[in-house]
């Protein structure tokens, strides 16, 4: 038996509509679907997003973009991690739009495609990760102007920190840099950036995690639940120990259950003796070390042994789980393993 990842397509749709309501009619809503649509599965998620009217998708790599193309014939697909020019034929063959991140990529693009292929450019407005900074842009503006650009984008470093003045600083620099490349669509914001308000929307917003239920917000819905099958229940007497290296010792007699989810499935080992699974709203504490394929929990509080427990509860959502893992929702989602069966519902 394996864990099941239940994905609510109607809540995904509701989250898309939330972003659609937020933007004006001059702004396009695109969707970020890198890393297999944040672990939820490109094959089902891309067509569902497209049904809501979205026509532009972002992936990290060309391989991901090709996978998206399989499920979306007509949309525009961008690769955020740059132009992988050694595979230039794939961009043409699958009609993928590379995002140029530096001058070498720009030169290679012109050399290979000239004006025959669409292209976008990323500007570095302060995150210092990828993209052309002001200096390289201005120094190489003649080369950049040879590119048949259809989108200029940049990325905010601190968008989840709404009052951070760096957001405005990045926006102002973005506006400033875009002036050197007039009449081209502009995009600055992903999910958190979109929530900062209309000033941050420009011609396109690019939510990812916000679509998939990873942001706690009254108007965004949870999209996923993980159901973990119980394999066995048993009594742990006082002073008995549980799991690798006996990191748990029972203070009194308890009833325990071992379930079919381990760190290979995306239940991080760091939750050993800290995390919990749920039966409805009742928490069942994880006892002992999480193994590769298994986890043991204390089910003493349950009236009887259930068939499965859940990773989330109405009061303990993806972002709460992520906090306990000392990370963010994004890492939780993309770490859900291959053995976890994806189950989609309307």
């Amino acid at each position: 038996m394996s864990p099941e990842l239940h994905i609510s397509l109607s809540n995904l749709q509701s989250n898309i509509q939330f972003f659609q309501r937020m933007i004006t009619k001059n702004t396009e809503l695109s969707a970020v679907v890198k890393s297999d649509a944040y672990g939820l599965g490109i094959a089902k998620i891309v067509p569902e997003i497209e049904r809501c009217g979205v026509r532009s998708f972002f992936t990290a790599t060309i391989s991901e973009a090709i996978k998206v193309r399989r499920y979306s014939r007509a949309s525009e697909i961008f690769t955020l991690n740059g132009f992988d020019f050694l595979k230039s034929n794939l961009y043409r063959e699958h009609n993928i739009t590379p995002i140029i991140n530096n001058i070498l990529e720009a030169q290679k693009f012109i050399e290979i495609f000239n004006q025959t292929q669409k292209v976008a450019i990323q500007l570095n407005t302060g995150m210092n990760r990828l993209g052309l900074d002001k200096q390289s842009l201005l120094k190489n503006i003649d080369i950049i102007k040879l590119l048949p650009l259809n989108l200029i984008l940049s990325h905010l470093a601190c968008a989840d920190d709404t009052s951070n003045k760096e957001n405005t600083a990045q926006k102002d620099l973005f506006i400033n840099l875009c002036q050197t490349l007039p009449n081209i669509r502009q995009s600055l914001s992903a999910s958190h950036g979109a929530l900062l308000g209309n000033d941050f929307h420009f011609d396109m917003v690019r939510p990812g995690i916000g679509l998939y239920g990873g942001i706690r917000n009254n108007e965004l819905k949870e999209v996923i639940q993980i159901k973990v099958p119980v394999l066995q229940d048993f009594i742990i007497d006082k002073n008995m120990q549980v799991g690798y290296n006996f990191t748990y010792k029972a203070k009194h007699k308890i009833k325990a259950a071992t379930l079919a989810m381990g760190y290979a499935d995306g239940l991080p080992r760091t939750l050993s003796n800290i995390g919990k699974l749920f039966y409805e709203n009742i928490p069942c504490p994880i006892i002992g070390r999480i193994s590769m394929d298994l986890v043991t929990v204390d089910i003493s509080n349950l009236p009887k042994t259930p068939k499965y427990l859940c990773v989330f509860s109405p009061e303990y959502q993806v972002d709460d789980f992520a906090k306990d893992c000392r990370t963010i929702s994004h890492e939780v989602l993309v770490n859900l393993g291959e053995r976890v069966t994806r189950v989609y519902s309307k």
Copy 2:
């Protein structure tokens, strides 16, 4: 561009031979290949292990076992996570041997298969995770004796802690419990247990992580290296900040590079500002937050910008990396993402 996981099949073979030399001719060497052969890829790893003379494989689930069967026609394949009796037809169809973990599974097995299918049993000798404990075994011995058992197994909780007296306690209990089921093969030890000496070998040892280079030992070889392509280099001036939430601020001017590996690929976000990548033996510290698809490092110490950096070095191996991630090699391996291209060499 994506990271490449380079897997040395000759070093895998060398590690198999290390375990083969360690055991006597009455002990069988099997291999644990659950979680896609610890992330290295069942399709290539299973045939390679079989070529070394191994004839028994262990997976966690029936789905994994079916995948192993595709690449190994004649071997015996066991499912550690029990007998998934709702899928009993799959065990017969693919000739998979379930490992019974509790009385319900035993009853279901007898009801469905009677004596027509091979079966193994797991005993709980103290880890308190899965398997029948002494009490259930003795209470239900008449049912258990109806099973056409070909293997009795148990699992050590503290085998990596060589001087822990629990190892001997579990072994003694295992010997004691096996007396109730005479003339059936016995197996207690995985990799670390096998290293405890001949007393722990019984009729079969079941190494997993030890085969794949996750144990630091003079006679075991590293099996994997990860090469991460550089996407872009740039200068970070004093006081400039890097990555999400600007958790890194340059104390002086440095040269940085952004590479195509993020937490979606198995470079845990917890290594932000802590981890490093390598050019040969030269460490390049990770600066700022690791993103989903990208990581930025300080390459000031390198003579020029390389095409790629490595996750491991001769002096910084999988278990060192795991320690920096506050986990164990197993979790590092199974978390390597789908985008990471597996490259096999002899």
